[in-house]
């Protein structure tokens, strides 16, 4: 269990993380979602005691990170696959981490085996591909057999096989009852792995919800229609009590999954249809909309009534 309370980080004037409060629960994969620069990595660094919060608090199982004896046994993290000395072999990299937390040497062999790096254990890390580096970082996170695991953008730059492996690993870790907290800037990735979502934008909490609720609320389904007999179709649908929205370019949209009903009405009144297609707004769009709003809200918050400058104002006046 990880608890964030009013977590805030300022760099001079810039607020990277703004009053973030949420709880990461065990037994599920919690996705930490936000566009690039939203403050995800900063938040994760504060959780590990690497960056000092300007205000607020993070507690791991009720304790501050630096109060944990042998922290790798509580929480394992992959922040950055390159956070290692390239001249050191994979085995020695893991060995020095294990020794610092009193973890037996045998465990180093085990995690190397888990991530499939046994064959290159004696090789220097600088010769590793991005995927191998990522696996070595994950081996380091698993070293202390921790109850909490944290991954920052773990699938970045990986090939499909590596992505698949990481997804399954995260799911199996959560199924063992562990707390899994994983960040990403890709909604589509989260949709496949996460059970719960924490969304931030501009350092603020935008949503803290289960994946199922997020999908239910944000995946709008609608029917897209094109017809040469626009007026007549509008009349027919209107008298059937169906609300139609015109979106320009001759396209009509009807909320909900009513394509069968509309098709039957069109046949009954002999209206020609060029298109009748059920559509689903993607989660990616929903996510973009959610975070875009936060950006907009932010930009307007200082001067709510100030008129927005129009394009060309600069030279038109002169």
């Amino acid at each position: 269990m990880i608890e964030l309370e009013g977590l805030t980080k300022r760099y001079g004037e810039k607020v990277a993380v703004n009053n973030l409060t949420c709880t990461v629960r065990p037994g599920i994969v919690t996705g930490f979602l936000g566009p690039n620069g939203a403050g995800k990595s900063t938040t994760m660094r504060m959780m590990l005691g690497l960056d000092r919060p300007t205000a607020g608090d993070v507690r791991i199982d009720g304790k501050h990170y630096d109060q944990l004896t042998d922290p790798l046994k509580y929480i394992g993290a992959l922040l950055d696959a390159k956070a290692m000395h390239g001249g050191r072999s994979a085995f020695n990299h893991l060995l020095c981490l294990a020794q610092s937390n009193g973890i037996p040497k045998q465990r180093v062999h085990e995690v190397l085996d888990t991530v499939g790096l046994t064959a290159v254990a004696k090789k220097k890390a600088k010769g590793f591909s991005l995927g191998m580096g990522q696996r070595l970082g994950i081996a380091g996170a698993l070293l202390g057999d921790p109850r909490i695991l944290m991954f920052d953008e773990p699938v970045n730059g990986l090939d499909p096989e590596g992505i698949h492996w990481i997804r399954n690993l995260m799911k199996s870790l959560a199924a063992q009852g562990r707390t899994v907290f994983v960040s990403s800037h890709l909604m589509s990735e989260m949709a496949l792995t996460a059970d719960h979502l924490v969304v931030i934008g501009q350092g603020r909490l935008l949503a803290d919800t289960s994946m199922a609720d997020f999908i239910a609320q944000n995946s709008r389904s609608y029917v897209r229609i094109r017809t040469p007999q626009r007026e007549r179709l509008l009349d027919v649908l209107h008298s059937a009590g169906i609300t139609v929205v015109e979106t320009g370019n001759g396209v009509l949209e009807v909320d909900g999954d009513k394509s069968a009903q509309i098709g039957e009405l069109a046949a009954q009144y002999q209206i020609v249809l060029h298109e009748l297609s059920p559509q689903q707004a993607s989660l990616e769009e929903a996510f973009m909309q959610l975070t875009a709003e936060s950006v907009e809200y932010h930009a307007h918050s200082d001067t709510p009534s100030a008129p927005q400058p129009q394009w060309g104002d600069g030279w038109k006046g002169n």
């Binding site: 660094r45 590990l48 005691g49 000092r52 290692m84 001249g87 020695n92 060995l95 020095c96």
Partner: protein, 256 residues
């Protein structure tokens, strides 16, 4: 037992990177070889020296002449041990494993210091004996008054130079910046300040000038240095403590 765990971990770190081996080997080879060369040259020069020069002829100190260059390798060792963590990004992994930063830094410095002391001490003794062998009939003996102190002091001097560099690197983090400041400082600036009359009085309080006093057995005739060999080593030790404290305070305070 957290401290012991950190020491074991830091020992694994230090022995598993190539830079440890090449910096320390370079320090050993350069110090000994240059010391032998200068000892051999001094032996041939002795008959042409003035009376005063012959009176203040210090065979022990001459055999340590290689340290002026060898210490640069010790500086590189000290800088890399600490700044490698930052330049590779390893520091974030290290501090996540050992969040008590004081323990982390103390463990790292303790291991690197112990290693530097073993290497420095061995270098100093070998440089002395081989240097004396080159000096022929002008040589000093390890049993002569003050000689053993000077030889042990030479090992301590090399160690303190490395530890001072660790402290500076802990403050500056960047290996390039640390080396860019330390190398010219110890190779050029300190020597210039110590040899120009106007700045001599300040120059002799610099860590290397003060510390190298421990390696002198014969005091030069016109020497008016206000401290003795142990006083000089004490001044150097104060510099080292200051650098380490600075490194500790900044590490404690900064985001990693």
């Amino acid at each position: 037992m957290a401290a012991l765990q950190v020491v074991r971990s830091e020992w694994t770190k230090i022995r598993s990177v190539a830079s440890t081996v090449w910096t320390l080997s370079l320090a050993v080879v350069v110090t000994i070889a240059l010391g032998m060369l200068i000892s051999a040259l001094s032996k041939n020069e002795f008959d042409n020296m003035s009376r005063n020069d012959r009176l203040s002829f210090d065979p022990t100190f001459i055999s340590f002449a290689g340290m002026s260059l060898g210490q640069l390798a010790m500086i590189v060792f000290g800088v890399l041990v600490v700044s490698n963590e930052y330049s590779t990004g390893m520091i974030r992994t290290s501090l996540a494993a050992v969040p008590r930063r004081g323990t982390f830094l103390a463990g790292k410095i303790a291991v690197a210091t112990a290693l530097a002391l073993v290497v420095g001490m061995a270098t100093s003794f070998v440089a002395f004996f081989l240097g004396q062998a080159m000096l022929g009939e002008h040589k000093a003996s390890i049993g002569d008054s003050g000689v053993l102190r000077a030889v042990i002091g030479g090992g301590v001097y090399m160690t303190l130079i490395a530890v001072f560099s660790m402290g500076v690197a802990a403050m500056l983090r960047s290996p390039m910046l640390s080396l860019g400041i330390l190398m010219p400082f110890f190779f050029l600036i300190s020597n210039i300040l110590g040899n120009v009359d106007a700045t001599k009085k300040i120059g002799r309080y610099l860590p290397d000038q003060a510390g190298s006093k421990i390696m002198q057995v014969v005091t030069p005739i016109d020497d008016d240095t206000p401290y003795g060999p142990w006083g000089g080593l004490g001044i150097m030790a104060l510099w080292v403590v200051a650098a380490l404290l600075g490194g500790y305070v900044l590490l404690k305070k900064r985001d990693a």
